[in-house]
Every structure is written in C-alpha cells, then in structure tokens.
Symmetry: C2
Subunit: 141 residues, 2 copies
C-alpha cells in the first residue's frame, strides 16, 4: 500500500517513482523512527549503492509530500517516521537514551488548555517529552 500511494502522490506532482524513493520510504516504515543515518544504513542493506545525500534529499521530499514527518528527540538528531503509522508521543529518557511511545490521548487535556489559553495548536505527532523512564528512575537517583 505504501508503494501504491507513493507512486500516486509522485505522479500527481509530475515527479518520478524511483527505486531509491521506495527504499527510503520502506526503511522509514520498517524502522519506526530513525535518523537519516539509520535510514541510510537500512537502505544500504538492500541496495548498497545508495548515497547518503539521496537519503537526505528523499526524506525532505517525502516530508513535503506528507508521507513522513520528523521529530526532534534527544540529541538534536532529526528522527523520521511515517505519517501513516499511529500518531504517538515520544518519551525520551535522558539517562539511558531510550525512546518509548505513548498514546497521544495523554495530551488531550494539555492540548485543550493551550488552545483556549494561548491559541496554540500543538502538533501531537511531533512532541517529545524528556525525563527519566521507570527503569532509570528506580535504578539511579
């Protein structure tokens, strides 16, 4: 299904369906969330010749097309994930660096409060919360 919609969206803009674009989109789907570097590594497992430059350009394009988005997680690393997946909020542990996902419903109250008080519309899929995961909170501190 991702291939079909990719071809469709590209066609609609007069753009071309290439092996690289399919591979990058597939890699994003498979990885869940990953940095450009990780996407490149994943793509390279299947097609070794693909350049990191192309990965950057393709991710930018796919984001423009609305097929993927990126969030800024822990260390300034842009992390891409497919939009077709369920939206989720990232919980980044500052101790172990792990990333957990929770349902956006936990933000419902917050989103409503910010919208009424400040007129700010939160992009739920782009939110990252920093803190300590259960394991690290118990272990250390």
């Amino acid at each position: 299904m991702s291939d079909a919609s990719l071809a469709e969206v590209l066609r609609a803009k007069g753009l071309r369906l290439t092996a690289q674009r399919q591979l990058v989109l597939d890699a994003v789907h498979q990885l869940g969330h990953a940095t450009p570097d990780q996407v490149h590594a994943k793509v390279s497992q299947v097609a070794a010749g693909v350049n990191i430059t192309t990965v950057y350009r393709t991710l930018e394009l796919l984001e423009e097309l609305g097929l993927v988005t990126h969030a800024h997680l822990s260390h300034g690393a842009p992390t891409y994930h497919a939009v077709s997946e369920d939206q989720h909020v990232h919980l980044v542990c500052k101790a172990c660096g792990g990333v957990a996902e929770v349902s956006p419903s936990v933000l419902d109250g917050l989103v409503g409060a910010l919208e009424s008080s400040r007129g700010f519309l939160v992009d739920v899929g782009h939110v990252a919360l920093f803190g300590l995961c259960a394991a690290c909170a118990g272990a250390t501190q």
Copy 2:
C-alpha cells in the same frame, strides 16, 4: 548574585573564576534562551576576543555545575538557559519559528498521568511542544 554563586560553585570544585565564565553566564541570563552561537555573539559585544570554543566549553561546564541547562527546540539547535530562572515550557511554532513560554503548570495533569501509568518522570524544564502559534494558525491554513 549570579557572580557570587558562580565563584562559590567553582571554588567548591577547585576551579577558577575567569572573566569568560562570568560573561557567558551573564549572557545566558540576559538572553533567556539562546544557542551557543548567540551566546558567543552576546559575549563578543562586551569582550571581543572570546573564542567560540571557549563558549562551548564554558556552557558545558556551567551545565555540569548545574547553573544552566539546555533544551532542544526547533531545528536541532541546543538552546541554553539559566536554571535559576523560572522553569518554563517552550512552545515552538513550526510556521514562524517563534518560541513562546508557558507555565509548567499546564503539564501538571500530564505529568501525573505519565508517572502513574508508565512510571515516567517528565523533566518539565526540558520540554518543547511543537505546533502553530495563534498568529500563524489564524493567518495561514
């Protein structure tokens, strides 16, 4: 007061109080939140000779000492702010790039929910929420 506590904290660790360290800490206080580059620019207004390298090293040191922290806002740019300031949540507009601040109290419900359901302790001062500010939400879209 910042100078006094800086000298104190440095002394406690056998480190030295230098003009650069005072300048960097002052710049962070004055700027509210800023990238290393912006801190360097601010410091340069007062003392032109200060190297960007020193700013990086000093910010890292000040963070270790607990005098400043950094959050990752919009574009992977680490943003530093003094810890003595009131903690605040950053609202980053993905359209205009503006950064607004709101009271952490809006997160109270969320923090409680995550702690009980997942055992995750949110670091309130480090949170950045992406979305559209009131101006951009009204203007565009």
